[in-house]
Amino acid sequence: MNTFAIVTQVLRIAVPYLFAAAGGVIAERSGIISLTLEGYMLGGAFAAIVGTFYSGSPVVGALCGIGGGAVLALIHAVASIRYRADQVIVGIAVNLFAIGITRVFLKLMFGSSSNSPRVDGFAAGYGDPLLWLGLVSTPVVAFILFRTVFGLRVRATGEKPEAAASVGVPVHRVQYMAVLLSGALAALGGVYLALDQHQFTDQMTAGRGFIAVAAVIFGRWSPLRAGAACLLFAAAETVQIHLQGNHVIASQFIEMIPYVLTIVALAGVVGRAIAPAALGRAEA
């Protein structure tokens, strides 16, 4: 296997992480905890397949996927911002809800409890526009956060909402937009995954949303560093796939890498990971 093929494989694995991590960074920078990325991805993946199945067009499917993620994000946003619910609890509930609702609709629409029928996706490999979108997603979020007025407001809201409000930033509106944007972005990760595999399967995101959460934290809430973390985790996964059956190192230990690195980063062994100051503060 040549280098080019290996790079391709790393990128294919990384794209869902990149989308979700880009979304995670923007929501967390606005002060809203993003344990929901997994649910957004799953909802996006399912809606994308439904849209593609009924329209025959993956573009329509991708837009449906964005809508699916945004609906779940709206639930998270309304509960967390309007009702000041505990964001960790709501986040876990949204993930549970996403698993349940995709299963119920899978049964209702396609009469199956495991997978949808096959649909046509975008062109494979480098012809897939979502692959390119995914690769630029974290730089784009970096641009939004650090070079636009909206980004400045997002960061101010996440660090010190009272101060932001006192200079006229509509704190809650900024948070709603950041969360919806994170839902749309993370959903695209699910869309890419589902269209790449040409079908939806039950719980197909399989923890990828949490790897993205790990990347956000390991990347210390910076979009570019989070993107680099996604590529690192994807590279580790690629190594794992190639080592399978080699008995050099058990695959389970490579699986652990993102999680262990995140714990190490949080414990401050290699550059302390410090969260936005107002992250998760319900009364904000």
Binding site: Y83, V90, A93, G168, V213, G268, E283
Partner: protein, 372 residues
């Protein structure tokens, strides 16, 4: 009942009631979309769970593990900590119970074997819980993230151990234990025949009583709640906050780990990879609905167990996955209504003098007179 007590009751009871009503409506919608009569399906759901001994036994069985994971979440929560690691702690406890039962010789005194199995489960859960506790106290690493990440690490470790060291070929479970089996409830009450309910439920009840006593009648429990309510004030009052946080997280892990006996010692008599299957996460919902009170948690565990067993009972009419949706709806509704109810009750008592939320903040930020 005094007015203060009534208010406290209202604050505790309103959110779960509202949440359950919302879940009913959500359930109705799902049932109607499958062209089923909600009335018929809800009745079937109740009949299949509380209507016969087998169904009720299954509910009891499921409620047992859920009450352990729920109490684990509540114990940490009372200290102001969020333990999302129940999944990994439960699984580790289950494996440890199986290893103890496996190491003991056939014919080992039953009661002692069960006790050792429980100790093993508790110790393993405690170790898994102590890690995020230590990371929090020593490095300030937030336990929400570390417990989530540790779940994946622990489950991968257990998976590796089972896959490479100790499994029956072609399966994902260990061989059966030699000693330490907890007898089924049907051995005492024959009507429960065939259901998985076992005497672990008594361990759960005892744990609830012990937790209530510790929490509300001992100095340690007082310190724990003080740290949860106001860590700075607790520190000033002479409580070692770090020590309390570490031990709360460890005990939380102990309780979750102990839950492993229900499946391993009480039901299957072996450890199986993935047996926790979301019960650890659902413990968060159980603690939330049970309002972090051990006895409330027992009731909440029964509620969630009824939903999950009821889903199986109505599967022919509405897919059982409906209950996943309902669980999500209940949790979101209750999490959203707790602060709301508190706000309303607080508002009915006294009007806040200053804007307390940012809803009101922009209006309050009037330009200084000099600027006009």
């Amino acid at each position: 009942m005094t007015a203060a007590q009534r208010e406290k009751m209202e604050e505790a009871l309103f959110p779960p009631v509202v949440a359950i009503l919302i879940a009913f409506v959500a359930g109705d919608i799902i049932m109607l979309s499958f062209n089923q009569s909600p009335f018929v399906v809800w009745r079937l759901l109740l009949e299949g769970t509380w209507g016969n001994a087998y169904g009720f036994g299954q509910v009891l069985y499921k409620a047992t593990t859920l009450s352990f994971t729920g109490m684990a979440v509540a114990f940490a929560y009372r200290a102001g900590l969020f333990n999302i690691g129940g999944e990994g702690q439960l699984a580790a406890g289950g494996l440890a119970a199986a290893l103890v039962g496996f190491a003991l010789p056939v014919g080992f005194p039953a009661l002692l074997a069960i006790l050792l199995g429980c100790l093993g489960a508790a110790a393993a859960g405690g170790v898994v819980g102590a890690v995020p506790g230590y990371l929090r106290v020593r490095f300030g690493a937030h336990e929400v993230i570390t417990t989530i990440m540790l779940n994946f690490v622990v489950l991968a470790l257990l998976n590796w151990f089972i896959a490479t060291r100790l499994r029956v070929p072609e399966t994902l479970h260990t061989p059966e234990i030699h000693a330490g089996a907890i007898s089924r409830l049907s051995a005492v009450l024959p009507a429960f025949h065939g259901s998985a309910a076992n005497l672990s439920v008594i361990v759960a009840l005892l744990t609830a009583i012990a937790m209530w006593y510790y929490m509300f009648r001992t100095r340690g429990g007082y310190e724990l709640r003080a740290v949860g309510l106001q860590p700075d004030a607790a520190e000033y009052g002479g409580i070692s906050v770090g020590r309390v946080l570490f031990s709360a997280m460890t005990v939380s892990g102990v309780i979750a780990g102990l839950g492993g006996i229900n499946f391993v010692l009480g039901y299957k008599y072996y450890y199986e990879d993935g047996f926790a299957g979301g019960t650890g996460f659902l413990g968060i919902a159980v603690a939330l609905v049970g309002r972090n009170n051990p006895f409330g948690i027992l009731l909440a565990a029964l509620f969630f167990a009824t939903l999950s067993q009821g889903g199986l009972a109505v599967n022919a009419f509405v897919p059982k996955q409906m209950v996943d949706v309902l669980q999500g709806v209940v949790i979101i509704a209750i999490a959203a209504s707790v602060p709301e109810v508190q706000r309303i009750l607080l508002g009915s008592r006294r009007r806040p003098l200053a804007p307390t939320s940012l809803d009101a903040a922009p209006a309050a930020a009037e330009p200084p007179a000099a600027a006009v």
